[in-house]
Amino acid sequence: MPQFDSHFFSSLIFWEIISFAILFWVLYKFAFPPILEALETRERKIKESIDQAEESRKAAEQRLQDYESKLTGAAREAEAILLEAKAKAQQLLDDNQQRLQAESDRIREETSQEIERERRKALQDIRRETANLALLVAEKVISRSLSGDDQRRFAEEALDAVAGQYVNGDPPSV
C-alpha cells in the first residue's frame, strides 16, 4: 500500500503538525470566541426571555385574580345596595300609605263633622225662619180684617210665598 511508504512520513508529519497548529491558533484566536459568545448570549437571552415571560404570566394571573375578587366584591356590594334600596323604598311606600290613610281618615272625619255642623246650623236656621214666617203670617192675618174668603186667600198667598221662597232654595230674608 502506498500509505505505508515511509518515504513521505516525515513531510506528512511535519506539515500536518504545522497545518493543525495554524488552524488551531487561528480558530482559537479569531473564530471560536465570537461564535461561542454569540451562542452563549443567545442561550442567556432565551433563558431570560422565558423567565421574564413566566414572571409576566404570573403577574398577569395575580392581577386577574385581584380583579376577579374585586369584581365579586363589587357584585356583592351592588346586591346589598339594591336590597337596602328596595327595603327603603318599601319602608317609604308603607310610611306614605299610612300617612295618606291617616290624612284621608282625618279629612273624612273633619268633613263629616263639618257636615254635621252645617246640618245642625241649617236646622236651626229653618226653625228660626219657620218661626219668623209663622209670626209674619200671623201678623198679616191679624193686621187686616177681612172676609172669610179673603182671610183664607191671604193665608194661602202667604203660605205660597213662603213655599215659593223655599222652593227657590234660599231661606227668605226677614
Partner: protein, 241 residues
C-alpha cells in the same frame, strides 16, 4: 485497469528539506492547506459576523460548534470545555479532510495512516498527560477496573494495559481504513463502469453514485467517531473511575 491504490500514491511536487528532514510539498500537504483554508474561511467569516440573530453561515458554524460542545458535555462534563478549541479543531480538520477527499481528483488526507496516527497518538499522549497531571501516580489506577478482586490483578493489569495501548492504534486505523476502503471501492466500481461500456457499465456506475452518497455519510460519521472517542479517552483521564 488502474491499480485501485494508485490514487493514494504521493509524489514530491516541491522538494524541500529542513535540517536534513524531507519536508517536500506533495498532494496530501497541498490538500491539508486547502482544508485549513476552507475551515478558517468558513469559521472566521462566521465568527466575524456573529450576532444575536445568526446569518446562514453563522448558523452552519454554530451547528458544528454546538455539536462538538454537546459531545464534550456528554462525555467529559462541563470542565471538558477547556479542551473545546483543541477537540473542535480536530473534528473540523478531520471532517473537512474527509469531505474534500470526496471531490474527484483531490486527495484524502485522512487516508494516510501516518496522518491519522499522528492525531491518534497526539490525542492519547495528551490524555495521559492530563491524567497524570490531575491525578499523579493514582492515574495508574486506570489499569485496574473498579471492583477487581486482588487476586485478579495479575490478569487484569496486562489486559487493561493492552486495551489502553490499543486505543491510539484502533483510533488511527479505524479512520485510515474507512477512508481508504471507501475510496478503493469507489475507484473499483468506477473502473468497472468505465471498462464495462454503456451496455453493462450503468450498473456499477449507479452503484458508484449510491456509494458516493454513503461515503459522504461515512465522512461525517468517521469524524464524529474520532472526536467522540477522543472525548471519551480525555474524559477517562479527567474523571478517574
Amino acid at each position: 485497469m488502474d491499480d485501485p491504490l494508485h490514487p493514494f500514491e504521493l509524489h514530491a511536487l516541491i522538494p524541500l528539506s529542513l535540517f536534513g528532514l524531507d519536508i517536500s510539498i506533495n498532494k496530501a500537504v497541498l490538500t491539508m492547506w486547502v482544508v485549513v483554508a476552507v475551515v478558517v474561511g468558513l469559521l472566521w467569516r462566521a465568527g466575524s459576523q456573529a450576532g444575536l440573530v445568526p446569518t446562514k453561515l453563522q448558523s452552519l458554524a454554530e451547528l458544528l460548534i454546538d455539536f462538538i460542545r454537546g459531545i464534550i458535555h456528554d462525555t467529559m462534563g462541563k470542565d471538558g470545555m477547556r479542551f473545546f478549541p483543541l477537540i473542535s479543531t480536530l473534528f473540523l480538520f478531520i471532517l473537512f479532510s474527509n469531505l474534500l477527499g470526496l471531490i474527484p481528483g483531490s486527495y484524502t488526507v485522512t487516508s494516510q495512516i501516518i496522518v491519522t496516527g499522528v492525531f491518534a497518538v497526539g490525542v492519547y499522549v495528551l490524555s495521559l498527560v492530563v491524567g497524570f497531571k490531575l491525578h499523579g501516580a493514582k492515574f495508574f489506577g486506570i489499569l485496574v477496573p473498579p471492583g477487581t478482586p486482588g487476586w485478579l490483578l495479575p490478569l487484569m493489569v496486562p489486559i487493561e494495559l493492552i486495551s489502553q495501548l490499543a486505543r491510539p492504534i484502533s483510533l488511527a486505523v479505524r479512520l485510515f481504513a474507512n477512508m481508504t476502503a471507501g475510496h478503493v471501492i469507489l475507484g473499483v466500481l468506477f473502473g468497472l463502469a468505465i471498462s464495462g461500456g454503456l451496455l453493462i457499465g450503468w450498473l456499477p456506475f449507479s452503484f458508484t453514485i449510491a456509494l458516493y452518497g454513503l461515503e459522504v455519510g461515512i465522512a461525517f460519521i468517521q469524524a464524529y467517531i474520532f472526536t467522540i472517542l477522543t472525548c471519551v479517552y480525555m474524559g477517562d483521564a479527567m474523571h478517574l473511575h
